[in-house]
């Protein structure tokens, strides 16, 4: 499969770059742990565990934003994006490759963040982890496309949170619901629906974002 080979090559390029330069992932890790420490001081004594769970989602969302704002930095600075667009492959492969590498960064960041949360605040259960996994897919899919949009604009990193947060509200509802509600299934369903819908629309429309 030619398409999958292209996607794999692009994702590997991002992971290799990160392995050599190490400029995004350490920042995400440090940010998410610092955010959790700040949240300890934000919560007044005696506030419920549920509030802490809500704050975990704030930390995850902003950590993702931090990673996403650097997603197309290398492509932009070196003019790589023009080369990628000219390459004889489907443009959506660029999106899929980048989304996969972002997904890997998110998963690695959460590998530290979730145990840290369990250590500092409360135990975590399977539905919370399931919610985080499903939310990651949506964040990576939508965030990658929006990061490409923001990279094309004058405002660059400034624009990304503005574009992303309104679109992330259903993710937050699904994620928080899956971690605190008594019937997590329907919230996981919402996250799955969101992932499917937005992955399709991002996959189909990425070409128009990078070409004129």
């Amino acid at each position: 499969m030619n398409y999958l080979a292209d996607v794999g090559a692009l994702a590997r390029k991002d992971l290799l770059l990160e392995l050599r330069a190490r400029d995004t992932l350490p920042a995400m890790l440090l940010f998410v742990v610092s955010a959790l420490v700040v949240f300890h001081f934000v919560l007044p004594a005696g506030s419920s565990d549920l509030a802490a769970t809500g704050l975990l989602w704030v930390a995850l969302l902003f950590t993702a934003l931090l990673g996403l704002s650097r997603a197309f930095a290398a492509e932009r600075e070196q003019g790589v994006i023009d080369g990628l667009v000219l390459a004889p492959s489907d443009r959506s492969a660029i999106w899929l490759g980048k989304a996969l590498s972002i997904l890997a960064f998110l998963a690695l960041a959460e590998l530290i963040a979730l145990p840290a949360f369990a250590l500092f605040f409360r135990h975590i259960d399977g539905t919370l982890i399931g919610g985080v996994a499903l939310a990651d897919v949506g964040i990576a899919a939508v965030g990658t496309l929006l990061a490409a949009m923001a990279a094309a604009s004058r405002a660059r990193e400034l624009l990304l949170p503005l574009l992303f947060l309104p679109l992330a509200i259903p993710i937050v509802v699904g994620g928080v619901g899956a971690s605190v509600a008594d019937d997590p299934a329907r919230y996981l369903g919402l996250l799955g629906l969101y992932d499917a819908l937005f992955a399709i629309i991002c996959w189909a429309s990425f070409e128009y974002v990078v070409t004129e």
């Binding site: 939508v142 496309l145 949009m149 094309a152 604009s153 004058r154 405002a155 624009l159 503005l162 574009l163 947060l165 309104p166 679109l167 509200i169 259903p170 509802v173 699904g174 928080v176 619901g177 605190v180 509600a181 019937d183 329907r186 919230y187 919402l190 629906l193 969101y194 819908l197 937005f198 629309i201 429309s205 128009y208 974002v209 070409t211 004129e212």
Partner: protein, 228 residues
Amino acid sequence: MSTWSRNNRLPALATLALTLTAAAIALIFFYAPLDEDGLNQKIFYFHVPIAFTAYGCFAWGGWKALRHLWKGEEGADLESYVAIHLGVIFGVLTLVTGSIWARYRWGHWWVWSEDQLVLFLVLFLFYCAYFMLRFSVPPGPQRANLSAVYALFGVVLIPVSVLAIRLSERFIHPVAFDKGGPNMAGSQFFTFCVSCAAMFSLAATLYNLELVGKRLDMRLRELREALQ
């Protein structure tokens, strides 16, 4: 399209909008009966049609964005932008009228349990970001493409947000808000329909008016560039 209908569409639409709006106001205040909420309930005839019109504008903007991406239709980008611009104006009016209604109905200017209000707040933030995006990209094909893709996101976001906001009530407000209002009488429903028609025709008039202005602006700029 014939020249006559092109030249006279705007005045005709404006006349229709004026007539329908006058009729709607007359019906609202002199024909529709008062219900148990008293005079406060009258804002319903403004709030709901304005909200429908805003949805209509967003949907039309999304449709034109799709036409732009799919068929490369000439001018669809401008039409999409104008529709979304109007949608945001009607969206703000929805927020304001909804807030007034909430104040008289439940005693607070803002109620998180009112799905429509929360949804319009989300949409308002989303479409404000649309303007930020549009005006931070230099005019040209790329601006048109980025705006169109983001506008399409909006059309998908509306139903997903409706679902999400419904679901969020279950953990934010465990007790469902009882809003079981009175059923609409026939005369109230008729008034409501006329109000809707008035708002739609008003939006169509404003849409065409803004398009005429924007197109004139573009032609003027082209002529100026040709002269230089």
